[in-house]
Amino acid sequence: MQRRVNIWSSIDWLTVAIYLVLVFVGWINIYAAVYNEDHHSIFDFSQRYGKQLIWIAAALLIAFTIFVIDINFYSYFAYFVYGLMILLLIAVLIFGKEVHGAKSWFEIGSFRIQPAEFAKVATALVLARYLSSYNVQINTLKSYLRVAAIILIPSLLILLQNDTGSALVYFVFILVLYREGISESILLLGLFVIILFVLALVLEKLIIILLSIAIVFIIFWFLNRRLKNVGIGIGILFLTSVVLYGVNEVLSKGLSYYYIILGALGISGLVYIILAIRYKIKNIALLLIFLIGSVLLTYSVDYVFNNFLEPHQQKRINVVLGLESDPYGVEYNVNQSKIAIGSGGLYGKGFLRGTQTKFDFVPEQSTDFIFCTIGEEWGFIGTFFVVSLFVFFLYRLIGIAERQRSAFSRIYGYGVVSVLFFHIVINIGMTIGLVPVIGIPLPFFSYGGSSLWAFTILLFIFLRLDASRLELLK
């Protein structure tokens, strides 16, 4: 059952207002970032700020068009749009132009467009469409596989373009899945894998295995609530370790502690299984799988890190983890970015008075590092305003998502929130040295038509769905 509502009056104008503020603040900062005395006219279309003005005008036109289109279009044609985007992502691999080492641009004359930016919209639509279908139960293997396919296909295609940053964005859809009820254990497992991956890079293997053993015994205690069993388990492991250590010393094999513990764990594992069967203790298999998994993972981390990541990516991760110092390379960029932001102080140096960004100390200052200009020229007041505005914006969007009557609209809303959230966290985090340098734009701020249009489409489809929420009777 549906009813007609005047959509213009039910648009969430507050969100639209925030959108306009963000775009405007972004634009004046692009002007500041590329400003120089030779080209000071703000309407100089040969300069980036002039071009950005054209992109903004076009974006507003796009937003208007989205409101005119019928609401059903977005769910009915979700798969079609998604399929089209996949084709474009494949096409760009073949016909695309390489910019900064990433083959992710179509070039038509002097006009360049990046399909990866738009693929996020399509993925959010399809995810919403799939998860909102009648017969879909999220916590089934079939759903897991389908959802994984929906998310990973564009991600892998973008990875093939050598645009790691944009490919990573797709992992944020986990947030949508979480909201839609994916099992916590799946998320915990994912979280655990990530933590272990980072730990494996930072810590010795020996410490990791000891930690894993400690965790397993704690979980064991939680599951069984029998201190005696835990004690016996620890005792067996300790004994076998001591024996192996003695044997190692006597035979002077010179094995490291890590292999002694590993051996002891193997022997104790067999004993545990026998005991578990005999005394009918549950969950022991699960815990053992957990241990074996963590050992295998620590091994595979080194392999993945050394064989799958590019040297510059390894470097970025190492720099953030503090394992490597590189003051003139990656660290240089982050350092310059921090200097720029830090030099802004409380009140900033004032509009157009930033020096760090203007003298090209900061790389990509109008695109990925636009936040530096805000930090330098507007100070903490400025950054506080921008971060708060983004947080409020996301908070607001969650509120809008939650008031939707259709699951499709809500899920899509969370898709919008997730994508924006990931971009904001990674982009700002990178400029202040909290996350590795991953080249993705700051939504609505960074220079570039593709990203501005993509984020505009992403947001306004959601606002369009929201404007019609009352048409749907609950």
Binding site: S75, G342, F359, D360, G375, T383, S388, G429, L434
Partner: protein
């Protein structure tokens, strides 16, 4: 409308998501607060600050002579640098006046700098003098974008030794690409000691990171110098050269073309290395270098050409001593061996002339009087030795002996530009005459050091040192010591043995003694090399020269029993060895051993000589 009303049982998860977003927002704001308000590391004092990286160029190591006399040192000079992005309109008239440059130069240089990079510094004006710098320093605040980088220029305390000291020049693109230490505008040793010991002399560049305010004034070190790197001063080098002897040699060689090399036989240290004509090393320093370099390059007498290391002459009669030694070692020649000489050597339809002397001669007399016929016989006895199946084997053997004196191969001294000379191989003759087509008679000119042989003055001095040492030599070298924890290469402390037993040398040295010190009228060829009270042993040589008059050659060492100096002198187009080369060598040795000249007449005789030297062509370098 696609409708779906699944029971939404996970609605409370929205709160967790909101909490995550707010928490991360808070973490970021706190981090920003610390970065921007609390932490002063990133806070740069005034409102507008820029970091500037200033390379610290270490002073290049100094060069001393063997007595500790300073030969090469440094003088401060200043490069005016520019960062185009920081430029503001300025008063060009005053600017040009201070620097004494034209408006056109400013435009040109700024254009060049912008092409290089708009935000990296590049050189605007090279080597501003200390005086100009003093004026400029006061007014530099008026010219944002400009700053001064200090450098050092080479200074020479003497006019001598240009060839052995070498010079310093700007690096070229090839070097910049192959060695990342060097950046555009850096200097590098181009020849001589400056080149060979570049890595010790240059030290290690450093960098200072400064904060600069809008008025282009340095505010202080950035981050307490955390990013600074200290420059390491270059090591000083003590050369083996005796600067007095070097200067004296250059004086003697004035108005002559040729070379003198003197070596201390007991160490292989080069005492003097003269190549004439030479030039004042100051000519190749600073802004005048390019102009002077072109002039020197176009000089027909090639003053830049280091004849001591690179000119290859036939050794002439000096080679007879080597053939004598080989004959003795191969036992085809004995001290008592006598050969008749009727004023020439005749074999088949060949005649090789000799001069008038008594006949027959024994070995000592053959060296004393430099008999060609004698050495034709010696040479043939070596090559036609029945011990070897054919001349190809005996020639190989002969060649081995020659090579063991350091001929035909790089001596491996510490000069980068020495040449290896020429000693033909059997393949050379196979190619010309066919494998069976050559006999000892074919090669007969090498008996007296002519023909296909090419040796450098350094190699000849080295051979003389090997004779003085009775059978071995130390690889000649120009550097005695590198200051700091550096050691000279091992190869300079190893004895290189010739393939001649040491006992064979005495008789040959006896001959060389007689050549110099034989009685008047005895037929001694080198009496002009006599020094009172000191026994000089020497051998004259005259190298045939297809382009003109023969070259005058003399090799000698002294004193006979405890040699302190071994010397080789080449005077191009000087004619007989005894005429010019021998007295020159005598004066050099006397200067070195006695610090005084016993017969000033000889000195005048040499100084006044002008031998085939077109003074006109070389005047402009003085």
């Amino acid at each position: 409308m696609l409708q779906s009303f699944i029971v939404d049982s996970f609605a409370n998860r929205r709160h967790i998501i909101r909490v995550i977003i707010i928490l991360i927002g808070l973490v970021y704001i706190i981090k920003l607060f610390f970065l921007q308000v609390v932490d002063s590391t990133y806070k740069l004092t005034a409102s507008n600050n820029v970091l500037r990286y200033v390379t610290q160029f270490p002073a290049r190591g100094l060069i001393y002579d063997r007595e500790g006399k300073l030969l090469v040192y440094n003088e401060a000079a200043y490069d005016l640098m520019v960062v185009p992005r920081q430029l503001e309109p300025f008063d060009t008239t005053e600017f040009c006046q201070i620097l004494n440059i034209s408006k056109e130069y400013v435009d040109e240089a700024l254009k060049r700098a912008k092409e290089f990079s708009v935000y990296n510094s590049s050189i605007f004006l090279k080597q501003v003098s200390s005086k100009t710098y003093a004026n400029l320093q006061e007014k530099l605040y008026k010219y944002p974008g400009f700053f001064v980088q200090s450098r050092t220029l080479r200074k020479y305390s003497l006019e001598n030794g240009a060839h052995l000291l070498g010079y310093v020049g700007e690096v070229n693109n090839k070097i910049i690409e192959s060695d990342e230490y060097y950046k555009s505008g850096d200097y590098i040793g181009v020849s001589g000691i400056e080149q060979s010991y570049e890595e010790y002399l240059r030290g290690q560049k450093g960098v200072n990171v400064y904060l600069v305010d809008v008025h282009n004034r340095i505010q202080g070190s950035y981050a307490n110098g955390r990013l600074d790197k200290k420059a390491k001063v270059g090591s000083n080098i003590i050369s083996t050269i005796d600067s007095d002897l070097q200067a004296y040699g250059e004086k003697l060689m004035r108005n002559k073309i040729g070379s003198i090399v003197a070596i201390e036989p007991s160490t292989g240290e080069i005492l003097a290395l003269v190549s004439s004509p030479t030039y004042n090393p100051e000519l190749l320093v600073g802004r005048i270098r390019t102009k002077n370099y072109v002039t020197l390059m176009s000089d027909t007498l090639k003053p830049l050409f280091n004849r001591a290391l690179m000119a290859q002459y036939p050794p002439g009669s000096t080679f007879k001593v080597i053939n004598a030694l080989i004959g003795l070692q191969e036992k085809t020649l004995f001290p008592y061996t006598k050969y008749e000489c009727a004023g020439a050597y005749y074999a088949r339809n060949l005649r090789l002339g000799c001069h008038i002397h008594r006949s027959p001669l024994n070995l000592i007399e053959s060296i004393q009087m430099s008999c060609n016929t004698y050495y034709c016989n010696v040479f043939r006895s070596i090559l036609d030795n029945k011990k070897y199946p054919s001349i190809r084997e005996s020639f190989d053997q002969w060649r081995e002996y020659i090579m063991s004196f350091g001929f035909g191969e790089y001596l491996n001294s510490d000069f980068d530009n020495e040449l290896k000379g020429l000693v033909p191989t059997k393949q050379t003759y196979d190619r010309i005459y066919g494998e069976k087509g050559w006999r000892s008679l074919t090669l007969i000119s090498m008996a007296i050091g002519q023909g296909e042989l090419g040796t450098t003055p350094l190699q000849m001095a080295n051979m003389t040192a090997a004779i003085a040492n009775r059978g071995y030599y130390y690889t000649p070298h120009i550097v005695k010591e590198i200051e700091g924890d550096y050691k000279l290469d091992e190869r300079f402390f190893e004895k290189n043995y010739t393939k001649i037993d040491s006992n064979y040398f005495e008789i040959v040295i006896e001959g060389m003694d007689m050549a110099v010190n034989g009685e008047s009228g005895s037929g001694s060829t080198a009496r002009s090399a006599q020094i009172p009270e000191i026994t000089v042993c020497g051998k004259t040589g005259t190298a045939e020269n297809p382009h003109g008059k023969d070259h005058s050659i003399f090799i000698a060492f002294a004193p006979k029993e405890d040699p302190k100096i071994a010397i080789a002198v080449y005077i191009e187009n000087g004619g007989f060895g005894s005429t010019w080369a021998a007295p020159t060598a005598k004066l050099m040795m006397e200067e070195y051993l006695n610090d005084s000249i016993s017969v000033p007449w000889w000195e005048e005789y040499i100084l006044n000589a002008e031998i085939n030297y077109n003074a006109e062509t070389s005047k402009h370098m003085e």
